[in-house]
Symmetry: C2
Subunit: 383 residues, 2 copies
């Protein structure tokens, strides 16, 4: 059984940019064939906020994220198992990746206590007490049933001492081993496990963490603990330290990143997969991303802009509605406002990834990257 399923998973790098670290690949899971580099829209609570699964399908999104911490609390992994897994529960036929809950649990600050066994935390919803261990998290992720699942790690905050980061990396390493052990013991083969490299902004720890995880032979690797407040220069430095250590044949996932230009820079350094709440969260606050940079929609100066967010964009918001109308929807609190803004930004993120992939395959990535960054960073002036 396990073997049959496992054959459905594969990752293949089909082109490497000769001038940068950029790669184009194909990631096969039982639910979808995913072309990398890929952006995975975040569906924290089994919904990519404001979007329907049909809208994601229409965008040809192949993989979305679910958050283990949130799904464990509501509706609960037992209910999801009873529903036949998260795919069936939420009516999504593509692939799913679940994080391990580490990021959320460690964000709780006062509500949690770390021990070598695991983390005791209190729910942000009702204050109830819970324990996450590497073993319990794998059990929860198996119940949820995503295609790609993540090991339980400590997402180290920034800034932090070298001493703290070193101890944390060791613990994350031990937890990774326990996750792997639990996964191999209990998997039915319908899922593959990623390890998460940590190390804060310390090069020696990044190397140590990555090498130890590579030695454990995970199916894929995530780079965690970045985009948590450190300077961008340091974020890219850590990526540059990490990707050369990672096996070329395995997928690389930069967690929680990010801005469109950051993703382009990260692809340039050998990253294949991304997730981030920015396109959805900022859209709900009236701010969207375009190839010309950020556009703020819910401002008075948009009141009579009877043109689309981006006249060159092919998304349903740009094909059918004006900035003036969307601004009116934001002003009056209509739900169609965050819907249209999200439809635009998710489309832009997915399209940017597809364009980038074509550029890599057609051996013109460096030029594409430079043009994209030049245009994107020349942000639209706000009057």
């Amino acid at each position: 059984m396990a073997a049959v399923h496992k054959q459905k998973f594969s990752f293949e790098v089909i082109r490497v940019c000769p001038h940068t670290g950029a790669r184009a690949g194909i990631l096969r899971t039982p639910h979808a064939v995913i072309e990398t580099p890929v952006f995975m829209p975040v569906g924290t609570q089994a919904s990519v906020k404001t979007m329907s699964q049909q809208e994601l399908e229409a965008y040809d999104a192949r993989i979305i994220l679910g958050n283990t911490y949130h799904l464990y609390l509501r509706p609960g992994h037992d209910l999801i198992r009873e529903a036949g897994g998260l795919h069936r529960f939420m009516g999504w036929n593509g692939s799913i990746l679940t994080d391990s809950g580490g990021y959320q649990v460690f964000s709780l600050n006062d509500l949690r206590k770390i021990t070598p066994e695991g983390v005791v935390f209190r729910s942000h919803i009702d204050g109830s007490r819970h324990l996450f261990t590497p073993e319990s998290v794998i059990e929860i992720e198996h119940a949820i049933g995503a295609d790609l699942i993540m090991a339980f790690d400590e997402c180290i905050p920034y800034p932090v001492s070298h001493e703290y980061a070193a101890r944390s990396c060791l613990m994350t390493g031990e937890w990774a081993e326990r996750c792997l052990g639990e996964h191999e013991k209990t998997t039915d083969g319908a899922q593959v496990l990623f390890g998460i490299c940590q190390g804060s902004v310390f090069p020696d720890l990044r190397v140590l963490s990555t090498e130890s995880l590579v030695a454990m032979d995970f199916w894929g690797y995530a780079i965690g603990g970045l985009a948590v407040g450190e300077p961008k220069r340091q974020m890219f430095e850590m990526i540059e330290i990490t990707t050369p250590i990672l096996p070329e044949s395995k997928p690389r996932y930069l967690m929680g990143v990010g801005y469109p230009d950051d993703m382009v820079e990260a692809v340039s350094r050998g990253v294949d997969m991304f997730d981030c709440v920015l396109p959805t969260r900022n859209a709900r606050n009236g701010s969207v991303f375009t190839r010309n940079g950020k556009v703020i929609l819910n401002k008075a100066y948009q009141a009579k802009e009877f043109t689309p967010i981006d006249p060159e964009c092919g998304c349903p918001a740009c094909r059918n509605y004006s900035r003036a109308y969307i601004r009116h929807l934001f002003q009056t609190g209509e739900i169609l406002a965050p819907r249209l803004a999200t439809l635009h930004s998710i489309y832009f993120y997915l399209e940017t990834m597809r364009e980038m992939r074509s550029a890599i395959i057609e051996n013109r990535f460096p030029h594409w990257r430079d043009e994209f960054l030049r245009r994107y960073r020349n942000e639209e002036p706000n009057p």
Copy 2:
């Protein structure tokens, strides 16, 4: 010019039920051919709450409502005129009907003062002072540019004295005449005007109001001031008094109604058009309408109901999602929750109208009505 446009408007009764007052008709406007009986989804602020115009088109909705009071305040009728009218502003290619703002203005209670000239009121948004007169309302409705526009009336609250209602009816009659005069003086022919019959629950006043409006020869007629708190028995009695006085050749619109069974009863008494916020508003609160009655989605007893809202329903919510999932979305405050609930209820309303129309055309309306009411009123028991 006016004449050219006006030819685009027509109403034709194509079948009358031989046993009831039910009629099937065709209402032509420059933007759509509307088959009656029809339910018009309410887009108060230029958006049918939670839905996109593309979703309404996919439902083959031919006409929606806009609210003059709300659109006058935000974004303002001058801005809508500058955008090229409401159709262009909101990207809606079907027909639109605007109410006159009477209902909203008279709902403001402490914020408004009625004089024979018109109504002085304060905005519910910022307290600013405004005057609506029959003439100014027509000017605003012309600027908004809906296909069907309504005369400015006083929507009498319930209960009210016969004396108050009588005075109000006289005033509404005078205002109707002024609206008609202003409309005929300034129309470019792209719109037709409906008069609104009032009279509270007093048969003599309903007769008086209706007869006086019929004498003025409006293009269509609305029955207003019902579903404002009076017993249903009285509501139907007022409809029964009104429809026989109205010209057979003109469309009849029962404003603000209503529940699915009430619409069926009203069609049975000769009404052609309906609007109501119930399917959208209740959906946002987790309550939807089905052929088996009301279903509450955001309750614990739905947590493991892995079946659709209505397995027989063809709407996108029922084809793709379970009650358990939608309940989870409500519990976690996801925007997809009100979206799916609204998608279901609006589909049900539109489908019910289409079924009813077929039954009228195929001479089986009384049987269809009895079956519908029997099934609908046997409401699903809440455990």
